[in-house]
């Protein structure tokens, strides 16, 4: 467990560092990612919190709760990425069509 906790904390710190220093994301996006990673860090460092939360939701084990929540989050994020890609694709099609002009013979 110590190995996993160390790896997670390294990821946690580097990701936070990148999020804050890159300044390419909007404030709410940075806040959301910080919250997500911090929640993960709390659960990794204090597993008893996940047991407590699992008990509240009627789930047997804390690790099960983490897996369920992760799956829901991943599906949601995939959906958001899909919607975003569709929007970008539509915009690209529109741009391509707008800039195309008849070529004279």
């Amino acid at each position: 467990m110590i190995v996993f906790q160390t790896v997670y904390l390294v990821f946690f710190v580097t990701t936070l560092w990148r999020l804050v220093t890159k300044k390419v994301f909007r404030v709410w996006v940075v806040t959301m990612w910080i919250l997500l990673w911090t929640t993960g860090a709390v659960l990794v460092l204090f597993p008893q919190v996940s047991f407590f939360l699992a008990h509240i939701f009627g789930i047997g084990r804390g690790s099960d709760l983490v897996i369920y929540v992760s799956i829901i989050l991943i599906i949601y994020l995939l959906y958001r990425i899909y919607v975003k890609m569709e929007k970008i694709s539509k915009r690209m099609d529109l741009v391509v069509r707008k800039i195309s002009r008849p070529v004279s013979n």
Binding site: M92, V96, R97, V103
Partner: protein, 222 residues
């Protein structure tokens, strides 16, 4: 043929067939032909330009729907009254385009679809199956029972040309056009046409593996 008729040929990497398609159409008396080169990486646009037809080139490939939408915009800008879309892979006969044009001129419908279904049923079983599944799906979404909803040979009368603006970019455009026509209460009419599939043209067009993608895109716009 009428000065108010435009033939739109959406083409993507069709250098082996495009010249025959254009020449056959010219022989049948079609004067105004537009090739929408959808980001081809081969000589399609160059060959078409040398055959003295209008060419619009997309800088990248966006799909059949995008190419048809570009062609329809061009037709409206230039004041055409009738449009016929014609596949570039050589599967249609130019004489069938004449049949479509007659049906448009005689007001059989606002949207005329060249149905290849009899030909497909006899010889091209997989293509027939793909078409049947597409027809069922088109019917469920639009309420229009069309025997060949995926046909690339179709005619737009003045009302259809004025009001049909496809939004989808891929093969789903064939079903979308029917859906729009049905929503706008336009009259859709089918004319039987022949299909001359070669190994080359069979490799192109709708595939079973593409059906789910088409269904997903159509559900998103319906």
């Amino acid at each position: 043929m009428s000065d108010k008729l435009l033939i739109i040929i959406p083409a993507f990497n069709e250098e082996t067939t495009i010249s025959n398609v254009i020449n056959d159409l010219k022989k049948c008396g079609f004067k105004d032909i537009l090739v929408v080169d959808d980001g081809s990486s081969d000589q399609t646009a160059y060959i078409a330009r040398n055959l003295q037809v209008e060419v619009i080139s997309h800088i990248v490939n966006i799909g059949l729907g995008g190419a048809i939408a570009t062609g329809l915009d061009f037709a409206r800008e230039r004041g055409y009254e009738h449009v016929i879309t014609f596949d570039a892979d050589g599967q249609h006969k130019a004489l069938d385009a004449v049949k479509i044009y007659r049906a448009l001129k005689e007001n059989y419908g606002d949207l005329i679809i060249g149905s290849r279904i009899l030909e497909l049923k006899k010889r091209y079983y997989i293509r027939y199956l793909v078409n049947c599944l597409s027809n069922i799906f088109t019917f469920l979404l639009s309420g229009a029972l069309i025997s060949d909803s995926q046909s690339g040979l179709r005619g737009f009368g003045p009302r259809a040309l004025k009001s049909i603006y496809p939004q989808t970019s891929g093969y789903e455009v064939s079903s979308e056009i029917i859906m729009i026509a049905k929503n706008l209460k336009l009259l859709v009419f089918e004319v039987p046409v022949t299909a001359c599939y070669s190994d080359y043209s069979l490799k192109k067009g709708q595939k079973i593996s593409n059906l789910l993608k088409v269904a997903r895109k159509l559900l998103a716009i319906s």
